[in-house]
């Protein structure tokens, strides 16, 4: 699974996620990536979010929308909301990662696996590419 979130110079956010799914999947199984609100969500009132990991648990927690709701309705900060959602996914037995960006320009990521391919760039932040 791959994903991208961005905030542009007008303060608008967007999210994109794309995947081949899980190895050896059967029965037309679809994970969270194409489900708006689960693996992908964007709302200028909160954040843009993209997920990766065990899709079934990101669906059940409505992870991407939940992260935005925790900000919009719960008043949480971006990283705080991201960590809370990953904690909820974990409490149901799932693992994976999230990336997020806010209209304010704040960025966040987190993962509960040993690794996540990730990168970030910006007009006023150092570029970073990492795996572990």
């Amino acid at each position: 699974t791959i994903g991208a979130v961005a905030v542009d110079q007008s303060g608008h956010v967007a999210a994109a996620t794309s995947t081949g799914g899980l190895t050896a999947k059967r029965w037309g199984r679809i994970g969270d990536s194409p489900l708006i609100g689960a693996g992908t969500y964007a709302d200028d009132r909160a954040a843009a979010v993209s997920a990766t990991g065990l899709g079934e648990l990101f669906i059940r927690t409505a992870a991407a929308h939940e992260l935005c709701a925790l900000i919009r309705l719960g008043g949480l900060g971006l990283q705080e909301a991201l960590d809370a959602v990953l904690g909820e996914v974990g409490s149901l037995g799932g693992k994976g990662g999230l990336i997020a960006v806010a209209p304010s320009g704040e960025v966040a990521w987190g993962f509960t696996t040993p690794d996540m391919y990730r990168g970030r760039a910006g007009s006023d932040i150092e570029r970073c590419v990492a795996i572990y």
Binding site: A16, G21, A24, Y117, V129
Partner: protein
């Protein structure tokens, strides 16, 4: 106003010691290429929607990642592609699932958002819609790389269980 771009290339499959130096370098190069693709749009005042599509397209084309070319295989050995895109201003969204011949799944998702009245389009109908919008169609085998075929063989030899541990991305 500043701009920001954050990307991921998946998780769970790259335990230390399971990724060769070449794979590590190839993946980092792919992540940097995706950052370049999206950053050039944002730095020149372009939209976050164009930027995330460009970054995702770069990663879909890169066989290091489980999306587009280099995707994992289903139990019967073909590739099925899912993608979604969403913009935060009006909360328009587009998604595709189960595509087999559309080279750029994220572009198909955007076409669903901008050129159809729907959000999610799936399987043969989704590919047919993408083709009708002029998006490139390829043979399903174009998405398959030997490493993914070998991973499928290992999973099937072990009983074909659901890869809940996301060992293979």
């Amino acid at each position: 106003m500043s701009w920001k771009l954050v990307i991921h290339g998946g998780c769970g499959a790259m335990r230390p010691g399971t990724v060769s130096k070449e794979q590590d370098e190839a993946a980092r190069a792919g992540l940097n290429a995706a950052l370049d693709a999206g950053s050039s749009i944002l730095a020149s005042g372009g939209s976050s929607l164009d930027a995330v599509e460009a970054a995702a397209r770069a990663l879909e084309e890169d066989p290091s990642f489980n999306a587009g070319r280099g995707s994992v295989l289903t139990a019967d050995g073909h590739v099925e592609l899912d993608a979604a895109i969403m913009e935060g201003t009006t909360r328009r969204a587009g998604a595709v699932a189960g595509l087999r011949t559309t080279r750029a799944p994220i572009a198909a998702a955007r076409a669903a958002m901008e050129l159809s009245p729907h959000v999610l389009l799936t399987y043969e109908g989704g590919d047919r819609f993408a083709r009708d919008q002029g998006l490139e169609q390829v043979d399903n085998g174009w998405f398959v790389i030997p490493e993914r075929a070998a991973q499928l063989d290992r999973v099937m030899a072990a009983g074909g269980q659901f890869d809940a541990d996301i060992k293979y991305g």
